[in-house]
């Protein structure tokens, strides 16, 4: 029975195809787990029991045919930032608390076409703004490894769900680390693909030039299976890349003794300095030792401008957000104040009531940096530095194939610990933001636990469009370690 919920996407998919279990049976099991965990974890905003079972029945019918779609019958969850036709889509905001999406996001369609079953929508930081899932209008998500701790954010609900074995995989979005940081804090895998690989159509925009759909799973292989269904050119998104389709799992499965022989791992000095929790540093060192056993060599590299990532990000992301969130004005949909005197008053009250504190903080910041007289000093300068950061990586990839380091400077922190100090909160993303600024892919994989038993993640970054190789580098580590297979107490059975 336990394999039903602890199974991976690959394992469950094989079992479903072999008709060893039905999707209805699996879906029912997971729905019960989701419902039972809700009080403790608050991982879901919407649970779609009826819809999920209907999809499971349809999947079972497909599984009885000769050629079922690749992920037929596998239950998943979507971060509530993804538009899902007919299903409430809230972005964890009061602004959209009752908003039912009239269409599916591109990645939702992709996973639907692949045959997955949607259990529901996962909780998140409001409008994906946050690193702890504490800004949600629906309350914080709790970390299944310790309920007093945050799961990270903004995709905290998806991360907690996969970690707690409520579903084998879930979608997320990563604007500054919103997939990788919660993956790290909950002990699972989280992949942010190259910008433009997965269409943003139907993803409620936070910062358009940074927002990247991606996924959580427990193995790198599963990430590849989901990416196969989510990637692909979409003419509805002008930043979607028109590239040939590829199988992101194609590089997996080497049986050589040193499958990563010759792989050059770059270790940026900037990722290993002061400010990194000693338990995190130790776990990363151990993981690197494992990689050397697999045949990789490590080289020291420098990314001198990466230290500017956080300030650059906190100019560009709020600037874009301040404009993207203007459509939430109470005129056509979403929250509108009950009482107002005139148009301006309606705008003010609707937005004041509909948005939480963190969203307002970023709208104000963004409005400020785009203002007349400040644009050049902030927005333009930030874009210039963004280019310098990308140049750092271009140079680095002449010396190495992958770049490794901690995903976050420390394991999970306690709920409430950083809510009064936005800057401390923002520094959680210090290692993840650069990949959003450059658009290159990055994955976080579990590499150990701290002295309190909280998970530690390692970030592996690589050059544009090298997801297949990146996934194999993560996959080979998971062939000789079992960090990814550890389940939090209370969710292991």
């Amino acid at each position: 029975m336990s394999e039903l919920f602890s199974g991976t996407v690959a394992g469950l998919s094989a079992a479903l195809r072999a008709r060893k279990l039905s999707s209805v049976e699996l879906t029912e099991t997971l729905l019960r787990r989701v419902e039972n965990a809700q009080a403790a974890l608050n991982a879901f905003v919407t649970i779609d029991r009826e819809g999920a079972l209907a999809q499971a029945r349809a999947a079972d019918a497909l599984l009885a045919t000769a050629n079922p779609p690749p992920l037929a019958g596998v239950p998943i969850a979507h971060k509530d930032v993804m538009m899902t036709a007919g299903l409430r889509t809230t972005c964890s905001s009061k602004m959209l608390a009752n908003f039912v999406a009239p269409y599916d996001a591109h990645v939702v369609t992709g996973l639907k076409n692949a045959g997955t079953v949607l259990l529901g929508k996962t909780n998140m930081d409001e409008f994906a703004m946050g690193s702890s899932n504490e800004t949600s209008h629906f309350g914080p998500v709790r970390n299944p490894w310790n309920l007093d701790y945050v799961p990270g954010g903004s995709s905290g609900g998806s991360a907690a769900s996969v970690a707690a074995r409520l579903c084998p995989a879930a979608s997320g979005t990563d604007t500054g680390g919103s997939i990788r940081q919660p993956a790290s804090l909950t002990g699972i895998c989280g992949l942010k693909p190259t910008y433009g690989t997965c269409s943003r159509y139907g993803l409620i925009a936070f910062a358009s030039s940074l927002d990247t759909p991606g996924m959580f799973a427990r193995t790198a292989e599963d990430c590849g299976l989901l990416l196969n269904a989510m990637a692909g050119h979409d003419p509805r998104d002008s930043t979607s890349l028109d590239r040939p389709r590829e199988d992101y799992t194609r590089d997996l499965g080497s049986t050589e003794r040193q499958p990563l022989a010759g792989l050059r791992i770059g270790l940026p000095r900037e990722y290993f300095g002061a400010g990194v929790d000693p338990d995190v540093a130790a776990a990363i060192e151990a993981a690197l030792a494992e990689y050397r056993k697999l045949g990789a060599i490590t080289v020291d590299i420098g990314l001198p401008n990466v230290k500017l990532s956080v300030p650059v990000y906190y100019v560009i992301a709020p600037a874009e957000a301040s404009s993207n969130l203007s459509r939430f004005d109470g005129v056509r949909y979403g929250h509108r104040a009950a009482k107002y005197t005139d148009l301006l008053d309606m705008y003010k009250k609707s937005r004041a009531e509909g948005f939480g504190a963190e969203v307002k903080r970023r709208i104000l910041t963004g409005t400020y940096v785009l203002s007349h007289g400040y644009y050049d000093a902030y927005y333009l300068k930030a874009q210039q530095v963004r280019r310098l950061i990308a140049d750092d990586f271009t140079r680095a990839y002449q010396q190495c194939d992958m770049i490794m380091g901690p995903t976050a400077p420390a394991p999970a922190f306690k709920i409430g610990d950083k809510t009064d100090d936005p800057v401390q909160m923002y520094l959680n993303d210090i290692f993840t933001i650069a990949a959003n600024l450059t658009g290159a892919p990055a994955i976080s994989i579990p590499v150990g636990f701290d002295r309190r038993g909280l998970p530690i993640g390692m970030q592996v970054q690589s050059n544009y469009f090298t997801e297949a190789r990146l996934l194999n580098v993560a996959h080979q580590f998971q062939q000789t370690t079992d960090w990814h297979a550890r389940a939090p107490t209370g969710y292991a059975s």
Binding site: M83, T89, A105, R200, S209, T239, S322, S326, H372, Y379
Partner: protein, 494 residues
């Protein structure tokens, strides 16, 4: 003290694409509110803009037509402001790098003669929706059908010096955008809208403070509004006041402009490049392809009319006002070649046919258009019919006067079949008497009946001769060939 008026115009030309600039929704005018607003147009969460190539193609056509530079790389920016008919809370426009830079439009100024109105730029942007304040008690309705309609905003340098010049430029531009098929030019439906920046200065001084006048949706309003505004600014300064930079609205009922918002209220639009749209790149091959599909431009045609047909500059300008007029003129000339059985073009026929067509068009067609207040495309009389009437005047079947009568009749009947011209001539008995014997008989009768006038003619009074001609014409009920009447009278009295 002489005042100099300085005017720059900003024109929004709605591009004639079938679908919107960033969505697949229809741009057709007049549909029920909000039936042509897609998910993208109403700015649902998660939707993204995709640029319509047809809109870019039209911008390229415009750039080529005005001799501007087509930017190989231009940027779409967001102009941020809140208004209920602006669904995204920002308008996608072009700010720092527009699709077309420079170029110009030639006009013939009443005071300065041939004059080239330089353009600053032309950029692509989307239109907003409409707020309907009248139909709802204490509330406003929002119609988003127009939201996302493609516009080309065309901006002149401040080089216009009078309301007349501004109107001439606007008319020339209006003709041009219709000529090259990028805008239907329908001003009532808002397809062609102008704002005027107006300032005054004493000659030789630096530019004065300008006011922007909005809502100039007809050429007449533009003229009135600018004239009013110029007068207002001069009076203000002469009374010791100062012009305040502001946006003013023209009220066509009161014939005045009034303040809408001052510069102090001006919003900070927080322009920044739209991260949803990559830079618009236009390869030279695309420009070349558009160039190959361009029609002869009005300026080129005008030059051709003055050289090939030796028409006056004024006639050539008039005939190239818009595509329909030019087409009409060409169809008349072509039909005349056919009717007079001239298989090949020759300079002498070119001259005769073109001059004739130009005279008949300005004499009969344009005046009837003015009288009935209709546009060229609604003229009920085809070029072929006009040519047939000209043929019948030319071969002396009917008199010029009868030709004019015939045109009025055909116009009123909405006549467009050339064959029916001959039938109508017979039915109306307009056929001219060109038989010398028949005319001679009438002349004899008139001489016999008017001895006093004949005596005056013999005494050398020119006027008296004309009176006799008039009496012969009257006696023939206008059908006698006037040239023959003249000749026969002269010989009989001489």
């Amino acid at each position: 003290m002489t005042w100099e008026v300085v005017i720059g115009l900003e024109t929004h030309a709605q591009l004639s694409t079938v679908s919107k600039i960033f969505s697949g929704a229809s741009t057709a005018f007049g549909a029920a509110p909000n039936t042509q607003a897609s998910a993208v147009d109403i700015a649902l969460p998660g939707v993204l803009p995709v640029l319509n190539r047809g809109a870019v193609e039209r911008a390229i056509r415009f750039g080529l037509a005005v001799g501007g530079t087509i930017s190989p790389r231009s940027i779409f920016a967001r102009k941020n402001y809140f208004y209920p008919d602006l669904p995204k809370g920002y308008q996608i426009s072009q700010y720092e790098i527009p699709v077309v830079v420079g170029g110009g439009v030639a006009i013939v100024s009443p005071t300065r003669g041939e004059f080239f109105v330089e353009l600053t730029r032309a950029h692509l942007e989307e239109d907003a929706g409409k707020s309907l304040h009248e139909d709802f008690q204490g509330m406003s309705g929002i119609d988003l059908n127009r939201a996302g309609t493609p516009l080309l905003e065309i901006v002149t340098e401040p080089v216009l010096r009078s309301a007349e010049e501004a109107v001439m430029y606007a008319k020339a531009l209006h003709g041009l955008v219709r000529w090259i098929g990028i805008c239907d030019g329908n001003m009532q439906e808002g397809s062609f809208r102008c704002d005027a920046n107006v300032s005054v200065r004493r000659e030789g001084e630096a530019l004065g403070t300008r006011c922007e006048i909005k809502n100039l949706n007809s050429f007449r309003f533009m003229q009135e509004a600018i004239e009013f505004e110029v007068r207002r600014q001069i009076d203000l300064i002469e009374d010791g006041g100062r012009v305040v930079q502001e946006t003013r609205l023209y009220d066509p009922d009161k014939h005045e402009t009034r303040s809408m918002r001052s510069k102090e209220d001006a919003q900070d639009y927080r322009y920044f490049p739209d991260p949803d749209l990559p830079p618009l790149t236009i390869a030279p091959a695309w420009v070349a392809q558009v160039k190959a599909s361009m029609p002869e431009l009005p300026a080129a045609m005008k030059a051709r009319l003055t050289t090939e047909y030796e028409l006056s500059s004024a006639d050539a300008s008039l005939l190239t006002t818009d595509r329909e007029t030019a087409d009409y003129f060409e169809s008349v000339v072509e039909e005349l070649y056919r009717l007079f059985e001239q298989p090949t073009r020759s300079p002498s026929h070119n001259l005769a046919f073109a001059k004739g067509a130009a005279n008949w068009m300005s004499g009969e067609i344009f005046s009837a258009m003015n009288r009935d207040d209709i546009a060229m495309k609604n003229v009920p009389l085809s070029g072929k019919v006009l040519a047939k009437v000209m043929l019948r005047c030319g071969d002396n079947t009917i008199s010029l006067a009868s030709g004019r009568t015939l045109i009025r009749d055909l116009w009123a009947a909405g006549q467009s079949i050339p064959d029916e011209v001959d039938q109508l001539i017979e039915a109306r008995g307009l056929r001219q008497i060109s038989d010398a014997g028949a005319i001679g008989t009438i002349v004899d009768d008139v001489i016999a009946a008017n001895p006093a006038i004949v005596a005056e003619v013999r005494a050398g009074k020119e006027k008296a001769f004309n009176a006799l001609v008039g009496k012969v014409m009257a006696a023939s009920k206008g059908k006698a060939n006037p040239a023959q009447v003249n000749a026969i009278l002269k010989s009989k009295l001489g």
